[in-house]
Amino acid sequence: MLAPYLIGLVGLVLFPAAVTLALAFTEYDLVNPPSWAGLANVSELVTDPVFRVALTNSLVFALVAVPLRVLLALGLALLLHRRSFGARPARVAALLPTAVPEIAYGLLWLWLFNPLYGPINQLLRVGGENGLTVLGRTPPQWLTDPTDARAAIILMSVFTMGETFVVLLAARRALPADVYEVAALEDATGWDVFRRVTLPLMAPVLALLVVRDLIASLHFSFVPALVVTDGGPPPYATTYLSLFIYRTGFEYLRYGYAAAATLVMMLLTVAAVVVQWRLFRRYRAFYRL
């Protein structure tokens, strides 16, 4: 039964990935045959200031966006898992942004973030004077200030946590009701129930989702950065590893160099997964799960 999947996995993912990694040690321009370059690409990456900025941006994005996405999804799952008035439309609303095609989603946010005519800043100016907010401050410069632009990309990513939300919703609904009944009999507070019952029981799923989101975070910043901020504002405020690799490989025809950056990205992913896995094992040992 697994054969078609395995063939697809090997032919379309693993083999191209292996070839790309091999190309990291070559000089390859997508046009002429690759030539062996040894570690030249890797050592150039070490001294490349743009790569360092892209790497830092990607790490900061992952460290901020992933917890935010998972926490928001968890909060919504805990809020909306019961049958109650308005829960169903709210669940649909939480899932909906995930269903919007990425480019359309980016263009939508480009309009939302428009510094003068966009609805977000228009709303923030309500009650203020002279184009300022009610607190007398300039509204966020989503597309022209480096920090605000990074926040904008994170904000965009937060609303696409629909898949995480659905998985957590299912996980929460699968938890045994009798555990909660026992907790209620013992007069446990809401916080106690969450900390001692819900969280430990959902921890395996949460850990899996965090790992998955962390891996995905290295590439789901690509379209927003390409469509909304174009990697800027300068210098490279929202140039993430994925955008750096795309530009280096396909716009500047340095595919070997881009492959070396991809190698670094994959090593980072593996390191992140290993660290999380070890943390998760400690957590399981602590709770004797």
Binding site: P4, N114, Y246, Y252
Partner: protein
């Protein structure tokens, strides 16, 4: 049960292998000629008109237009299609960006075809545009246009505020003075745009729109008697640290930082300069002929073009696109027939009538098709008068990277007011490795 599953797996594997290895659609040798371009909707409409006319002139010869969303998308599509073995037969590219493909032997030399052609005579074309597409002594592409930078201006606004219109021979200081006089609030009162950020009085009209880029700095550096690179043929570094370079750069930055006549970065992000001009909120815009097709849809006011202002000498910067044939094209003869038609007098008349180009064909550029005074810009002669003064930017293979890197630095200089010495140092430091890595024609 095991055998059907194994068969299914084998079938899927075959499909995967087949779809992965097959050439893309239209790659067959008997299909239409595939032409890769990018541009605004009005520009794409111009190419469709050309293709339609070609189909009527030579029935049975089909051309398929492949539309990229922008220049970067075009570069990526071209690179990946070449790598995938299914390149377009023809592509249209600016001379500033074709170097990276020329250096990698992606472009088919056209010398033999030109020599054998009855329709293409190089003497019919502006030499500056033809020479811009020679690489290693070979003619790789043939120019479609010989555009240059000009100053578009809103005549109706100038008349309303009784400010003299720009005219040939005007200086940079004249331009700054005019831009200051045209920067107005919504009551029509002259305002200083530097006070607008976060304050009450944002100008309703800005005096000038200019993109902070090396291609905008270059003509003024040249006009001031300087150079932008140390060696135009084999550049190794930018030379904006010279007196002329510094002057051109400082004056560009002052447009925002000292005079506030150009919109802020926030305003440009909210509404780009071309839209701002088309909406009547920009008095002047420094742009190439490319903007004409978009501006011809303007109905609310009159507009025209003026030559660039000068420092010492009148110098322009070439903006030329050419049709290039890929070395891996499947239908080279058919592609050449279309190319001949597209750059012939007949083909260039069709594109010129849409307003998109300053024809590279000398005869067409001097004909009423291009100079028609009933179609804006009334003073289209400006583009032709500029041709003898045009200079080219380096065609080194890493020039696209140079433009991208310098754009960010210049953007921060113009809008954030970074210190000039720091800007010049950053420009030099960050572009040296790119020049070192570049290949020359």
């Amino acid at each position: 049960m095991r055998r059907p599953k194994a068969l299914l797996a084998a079938l899927l594997a075959t499909v995967l292998f087949g779809t992965g290895c097959a050439a893309g659609p239209g790659a067959a040798a008997d299909g239409p000629v595939r032409l890769l371009v990018f541009g605004a909707p009005e520009e794409l409409a111009a190419y469709r008109t050309l293709i339609e006319a070609y189909g009527q002139a030579q029935p049975g010869n089909e051309v398929q237009l492949i539309e990229a969303s922008d220049r970067k998308d075009l570069l990526a599509r071209l690179a990946t299609s070449v790598a995938g073995g299914a390149p377009p037969d023809l592509f249209l590219m600016n001379y500033r960006f074709y170097g990276q493909f020329a250096a990698k032997n992606v472009v088919e030399p056209l010398d033999e075809r030109i020599a054998a052609s009855e329709r293409v005579n190089p003497a019919d074309y502006y030499p500056v545009a033809v020479e811009a597409f020679t690489w290693g002594g070979k003619q790789l592409c043939l120019p479609q246009n010989v555009s240059s930078l000009a100053v578009y201006y809103n005549r109706t606004l100038f008349a309303k505020y009784q400010v003299p219109e720009p005219k040939a021979g005007w200086t940079w200081n004249d331009m700054v003075g005019t831009a200051i006089a045209m920067t107005r609030d919504d009551r029509g009162v002259v305002v200083k745009g530097t006070e607008s950020e976060g304050a009450a009085a944002r100008p309703a009209v800005h005096g000038l729109g200019v993109e902070p880029s090396i291609i905008r700095v270059a003509p003024f550096t040249w006009s001031a008697g300087g150079e932008i690179v140390d060696d135009p043929d084999r550049p190794t570094r930018l030379t904006l640290d010279t007196q002329a370079g510094r002057e051109a750069l400082k004056n560009l930055v002052d447009l925002r930082q000292a005079y506030g006549v150009v919109p802020t970065d926030e305003e440009v992000e909210a509404e780009d300069d071309e839209s701002r001009f088309a909406n009547g909120r920009l008095a002047m815009l420094m742009s190439s002929r490319r903007s004409t097709t978009t501006f011809r849809s303007i109905t609310g006011f009159e507009w025209d073009v003026a030559p660039l202002p000068v420092y010492q000498d009148q110098v322009g910067v070439l903006h030329s696109d050419a049709y290039c044939m890929t070395r891996g094209a499947k239908r080279k003869d058919a592609a050449w027939r279309f190319l001949e038609f597209a750059i012939s007098a007949e083909g260039q008349q069709i594109i010129a009538a849409t307003g998109r180009t300053v024809p590279s064909h000398i005869g067409v550029s001097q004909s009423p098709v291009f100079l028609d005074p009933s179609q804006p810009p009334r003073n289209a002669q400006v583009f032709l008068d500029t041709v003898p003064t045009l200079r080219t930017l380096p065609t080194i293979s890493t020039w696209p990277e140079v433009e991208d890197v310098t754009a960010g630095i210049l953007e921060n200089a113009l809008y954030r007011g970074d210190r000039l010495d720091e800007v010049i140092r950053a420009l030099d430091e960050q572009t040296r490795p790119l020049f070192a890595r570049g290949e020359h024609g």
